[in-house]
Subunit: 370 residues, 3 copies
């Protein structure tokens, strides 16, 4: 992990904490250490085990106190329960930032460092971009090299369209949204404010809609035109190479605050509720509705035309094939086993119905004799 | 769902039906309703439950008659069994289009509306596209902004290459095929007529072919050059971010009328039979042959070097690891359960072989005593 | 399979073998056949069953001797055990290249043909590419049309950046690495020498890191900035549309010689050991470490924060949810069955815990009576 800021740009620990507005409510005390004071310069942030002396770190639980004892970090965010009070003889070398919610403060500091290392965004439309005459690009927006913006599309203030992105016609991209390279928006896709769309994402491709058309050929499929769009709320992040298809007649809808990891597939007509988070490689078949605040593990699968309640958790790799009507966690994963053992078990997996029948027969016989 | 056509472009219901050539065979009667006549202007098409008064709708089964009773649509396609005959007192407000196959007529109308809303395609090569001197681009084809076309590639009439697409050398793209933004064709990829290749698709990347090369390092892999191409038939649709690898020595082949949804992976040397349809996230390992008219559910997986017969159906999430020699439906999915219940069951899943053994022992004991 | 070389560019069999430096150690003898001598011109290489008379072929095991007997190939690489000695009356029509390791010689010949058919790479930066002033592009490197190279990025000798690739800032691309079209490197991504990055790959997108932020809204997520990078070793191949996320605080690391197939997802902070190979559609959740020389089947899934030893093999479709501490093969796949049979079995899968309990009760009763 390279140090993020050059020394001449690094703040002192105390100055850094002061630049986080939320720190007033979060930090109860900054305690200088035996080696590093609260004036130590902080160039970055790293894990306890690998942070070097110009980086600060954090600890969230006593589970990691061995790493804390050995850390090289110049400062550590610690919860009150792990703090060593000022004035004690055994002060650690690092300065302590005592904080009720170390992970939250870490998140705020990470954002601070992230913003500092970003070069200033150059506003305006790159000379090599191709923007339709009828598109509206706000003055503070950025449209990168070789990007393409379609007719009547509206790009609001502070939007950042990275190079080689293609945005179709009649799209609307809300204030502050970032679209990374090589992403594609088809026509009639709307996204709200502060969205983050990662590279390779495809929004609004045709839903998978076909009707048998035996007049064409035996087994042939006739395409159903997909007339709906995609509507995405505010504060949504969509991971690299994820795809969200356009609706058949209505829109596919992604609620506010939804977080989708990489390589997820959302089929046409789906509705994903506010603040639902999905880990990578999840597939949601068409016309399925997922509630708010659900947490979906990686590679989970959803059948089409089903409804999932709010606050449902699905374990990774689990297939959901019918409605879920109340909150709770569902799982359906076959545990891995050494291959030879799996072979023995697999032979039985296909005979479970018969196994149960044999068990019932035994149970019927036994009462007679006991 | 926004209305699709402006009022000044909207046809009357009767005129609209008249513009669908197939409607003569499909529609038995158009019945004016209590409110909307067959001259009502139709601006779009929507679901029964959400269509507004300038949209028409359709019903396929009596299951939805509640929605039919409440629909705001100005016209509804109905099967004869759900029609209310002309002259009756209780005519519904909407006009009825009585039709033996409502879903098919809906599909035809959706296509009509889709074509109407598309802006006219601008033919020719965009000034910012880069086309090799030896490529042949038909006069009626479109090559969008920043697209790249390689040496000796042939682009036939009415092909539509969207912006930022890259087509390699020695490719052939058949008449009327559409390639959406940011798709990539490697060299030596052929596709037939009327294909639809969605954004982010990659055709012809190297198959995953390696041979152990311990001379290089312990465990090292030597690359096997992939000399084959990809050959795709007519009327094929390939969904966003799907990948089809090139063959090792022969071509990877996708038959006529095949429909692949998003994020599917087709390995090298595979052959996919005519009119087979695969839902999203399916993986097919190398050198596997899948027959004609198969229907493959989402996230199904196929091992390599196996052969699947024609007319096979595979349920979503099912792993296929050996040949399937006859038509029929196969399934292999562990049902999801509440997490605590799953934990109890999972403990047994790894002991099924032993469980069966114990059952057999009981069965052997019991005959002796009964 | 089209013939690869035009006849005027085709070498004789003996000349071709002579151009493979390793052939001296591998080939014991070239035996002219009844029809084709060692002077026959070889235009390509194909499978035994479909090679035509201007192509050579190879056989790796006696299992294919039927195809060998019928092959049209002009020359065949054969192991000594399948060779027909010079001077015998029943010489086959094809010339024989007798070789201890036919598959390895095939791999070397395939590479030779692959290189011959590639057009010479044009070095330099295409006029339409956009390269930051502070980037360093080696003189022998190629930067294709519409590619974008960010600030301070270093592109070493013989690197080939295909059209429409976007490389961020502060990246480093080692000598001889090839990056295919529409791939995206975010900032701070490093890759070593001789890498092959296929189309649509995304390296360095933000890891999926969020902390609950109930202050924002019930169930809302706060983003954790992802400050790490991606570091990839030498001789790594990454398949089409695969994604490797950047680390949260440290780098995500891919070792030397790793081979990743298409549509794989590697989460943030993962470490993948040297020479590990993964087939397509594998997902590895964040902070998981996979050892060296592992072989991972397609669509396998790994939970986050686990550690997999060296030399582990995971069967396709298997979910790994905990550490694996020693070499060996693990499997966890539910076998597919005819749908009706699966339904009967699936009903039992959710009751296995209860089934075992009933079995135990029977076992307790039986000792009493036997």
């Amino acid at each position: 992990m390279p140090v993020i800021l050059r020394p001449e740009h690094a703040p002192s620990l105390r100055a850094l904490i002061g630049q986080i507005p939320e720190s007033k409510a979060l930090v109860s005390e900054v305690v200088s250490g035996a080696v590093h004071s609260d004036q130590t310069l902080v160039q970055g942030i790293g894990p306890l085990a690998s942070a070097c002396a110009v980086e600060m770190s954090f600890i969230v639980s006593a589970k990691f106190d061995q790493a804390l004892a050995q850390t090289q970090a110049c400062a550590v965010i610690v919860p009150p329960t792990l703090a060593i009070e000022q004035g004690r003889d055994d002060l650690p070398p690092y300065a302590q930032v005592i904080c009720d919610q170390p992970y939250l403060l870490y998140a705020l500091l990470a954002r601070w460092f992230d913003e500092k290392r970003q070069p200033p965004r150059i506003t305006g439309v790159h000379a090599s971009a191709f923007v339709d005459d009828t598109a509206q690009i706000a003055a503070s927006a950025t449209v990168g090299a070789h990007a393409v913006i379609g007719a009547r599309t509206v790009i609001e203030e502070d939007v950042y369209i990275h190079p080689n992105v293609v945005i179709g016609s009649d799209c609307h991209i809300g204030r502050g949204t970032v679209v990374y390279p090589n992403a594609t928006f088809y026509d009639h896709v709307r996204i709200g404010m502060r969205g983050i769309i990662h590279a390779g994402v495809v929004l609004g491709a045709d839903g998978f809609g076909f009707a048998p058309n035996p007049m064409l050929a035996k087994g042939a499929w006739g395409k159903i035109a997909q007339l709906g769009g995609v509507v995405i709320g505010d504060d949504v992040e969509i991971g690299a190479n994820t795809t969200v298809d356009r609706g058949a007649l209505e829109n596919t809808e992604i609620g506010d605050g939804v977080k989708l990891d990489n390589q997820i597939m959302i089929g046409h007509n789906c509705k994903i509720g506010d603040h639902t988070a999905m880990a990578a490689c999840v597939g949601v078949a068409g016309s399925t509705t997922i509630g708010a605040r659900c947490i979906i593990g990686g590679a989970a699968m959803f059948s089409g035309h089903i409804t999932i309640a709010d606050d449902v958790q699905i374990s990774g790799g689990t297939a959901i094939t019918s409605d879920i009507t109340s909150a709770g966690r569902l799982t359906g994963v076959l545990p891995a086993a050494p291959h030879a053992q799996w072979q023995r078990n697999a032979a039985v997996m296909g005979q479970l119905g018969e196994l149960r029948k044999r068990l019932r027969q035994l149970e019927r016989k036994l009462p007679e004799i006991s």
